[in-house]
């Protein structure tokens, strides 16, 4: 998106609101929907990658050391990673803003 959604005038929209710029959902940072964030305990993490696999927003990435972390620009705090983590290495921690 060239500018934030609330700055578009009606006549600036494309016909049928077609999105010509593919993949621009990346510009929409959904991380601010979050009320709690996943925190990894590296002592318990086995680097199995289930959290990465289950994240519905592809917001989990792997670091060079092989550990996983959430991109907080997009993580909505759904907690699926914490629920699916077999060794129980992920805790959802409430955030205050």
């Amino acid at each position: 998106m060239a500018k934030p959604m609330d700055q578009y005038k009606w006549h600036e929209l494309t016909v049928g609101c077609v999105i010509e710029e593919v993949g621009n959902a990346m510009e929409y940072k959904t991380g601010d929907w979050r009320s709690s964030k996943p925190v990894w305990n590296r002592e318990k993490c086995t680097k199995c990658g289930l959290c990465w696999l289950f994240c519905p927003d592809a917001a989990i990435h792997q670091s060079d050391e092989g550990y996983y972390y959430a991109d907080l620009d997009y993580c909505k705090g759904c907690g699926i990673c914490a629920r699916e983590c077999k060794p129980g290495a992920i805790t959802m921690v409430e955030e205050e803003r």
């Binding site: 959604m5 609330d6 016909v15 049928g16 609101c17 077609v18």
Partner: protein, 393 residues
């Protein structure tokens, strides 16, 4: 221009779609629309028309397939009636919101319950605010011509909206009428191939039908509203072009014998031919009554109606649908709003007639017309708003 050909109007409608060189058809059969899609299936199967004929399991799927086909840039046609239109209802909004120029022959039929396969306007009136352009037709020739015009209107870059050509179930769809078919060359000249603005194509990917947050939804719907409002100018232009190219004159508002008449009638669809007959019979008795027939219902041609109605004293609006608890029928409500906003001094009457296929003969209309034109204000037995013609009580 070929000579007149006697043909069932449904078959003629499918020939019109063929002349428009439709590229995709998705439809599900329902009475009284069946013959249209049946004959189109034959035309495609015989190799007379190079189109994808998509067989589906319901009207919901038919309209969904039309949305997909139109999004790829194919000239897309469908047809339905009554319950089928209701099953399409959700997708009708999607087609207009995505600005896809699908054309539908809407063969008007009563809605269940009670179950009725016969004609009235309860299906189209339930779909009146779906954002589709809506044309109404009085006879088979108008059906053929309107289908061809509908594609040109819908596909115009200044419009890009779906269009519905309404024809009355049975009283139009199943009658045999003399039809003049334009030649393929003339239609091709009038209606060049569809040049879509956007298409679903892997070479240039786009997203269609995406999500709008509260920050954008109002602007999105407003731009769509402006598009349907502005389509009126294009519709006029296309009708003018059609009149020039094919010699049959079309206007968004038609009139009949209104010059000397103080009292005029208004209705949509094939009943207008009966109304004209009744007007002729009354004229023979020295009574001057007129007809104002909107050929276009969406966008509503208020300015053009004001122009022909501003000098009239009384207008009776006839509608083939029960108001469903509204003050009056949907056409009357538009007219009342038009009269108030334009400050017209026009006395209004509203009549409901012809529900579920009930015939209204010119003779019956004459009685009602005489009553309307001679009484100061008609009071209906149980309701101060509208009368119901022929209801037994």
């Amino acid at each position: 221009m070929s000579a007149d050909k006697g043909m069932e109007v449904s078959i003629a409608a499918s020939v019109a779609a063929k002349l428009a060189r439709v590229e995709a058809v998705a439809a599900y059969p329902i009475t009284p629309q069946t013959h249209i899609v049946e004959h189109l299936a034959e035309i495609v199967a015989n190799g007379e028309l190079d189109a994808a004929y998509i067989n589906v399991e319901s009207e919901h799927s038919a309209m969904s397939a039309c949305v997909g086909a139109s999004a790829t840039g194919a000239r897309t046609f469908t047809s339905t009636s009554a319950q089928g239109m209701e099953l399409m209802h959700e997708i009708l909004f999607i087609a207009s919101g995505m600005r896809l120029p699908i054309v539908m022959a809407s063969v008007n039929r009563a809605l269940s319950s009670p179950l009725s396969i016969w004609g009235d306007h309860s299906d189209v009136m339930a779909a009146r605010d779906t954002g589709w352009i809506m044309l109404f037709t009085e006879n088979g020739q108008e059906v053929v011509d309107s289908i061809i015009m509908a594609f040109k209107i819908a596909e115009d870059r200044r419009v890009l909206l779906p269009a519905m050509v309404n024809l009355d179930g049975f009283s139009l769809s199943h009658v045999i009428e003399p039809i003049q078919f334009p030649s393929q060359e003339d239609v091709d000249r009038f209606l060049p191939p569809y040049a879509p603005l956007y298409t679903l194509h892997p070479d240039k990917p786009v997203t269609m039908g995406a999500y709008a947050m509260p920050e954008l939804y109002t602007e999105a719907k407003y731009s769509q509203e402006i598009a349907i409002r502005n389509s009126k100018a294009v519709i006029k232009e296309v009708m003018e072009q059609f009149s020039k190219d094919f010699g049959r004159k079309y206007n968004i508002v038609e009139t009949y014998n209104i010059e000397k008449a103080d009292t005029v009638f208004m209705a949509l669809g094939s009943i207008n031919e009966n109304i004209k007959t009744a007007i002729d019979l009354l004229k023979d008795n020295g009574k001057e009554l007129g007809l104002v027939a909107p050929r276009l219902f969406r966008p509503f041609p208020a300015d053009e109606l004001v122009e022909v109605l501003k000098t009239k004293k009384k207008l009776a609006v006839f509608e083939r649908v029960m108001p469903g608890g509204a003050m009056n029928g949907p056409l009357y409500n538009e007219i009342a709003s038009m009269v108030v906003q334009n400050g017209l001094d026009l006395q209004l009457e509203n009549y409901i007639f012809g529900l579920g296929g009930r015939d209204v003969e010119p003779e019956e209309l004459i009685d009602v017309f005489e009553q309307i034109s001679t009484s100061a204000k008609i009071t209906h037995a149980d309701n101060k708003n509208y009368g119901v013609i022929g209801v037994r009580s």
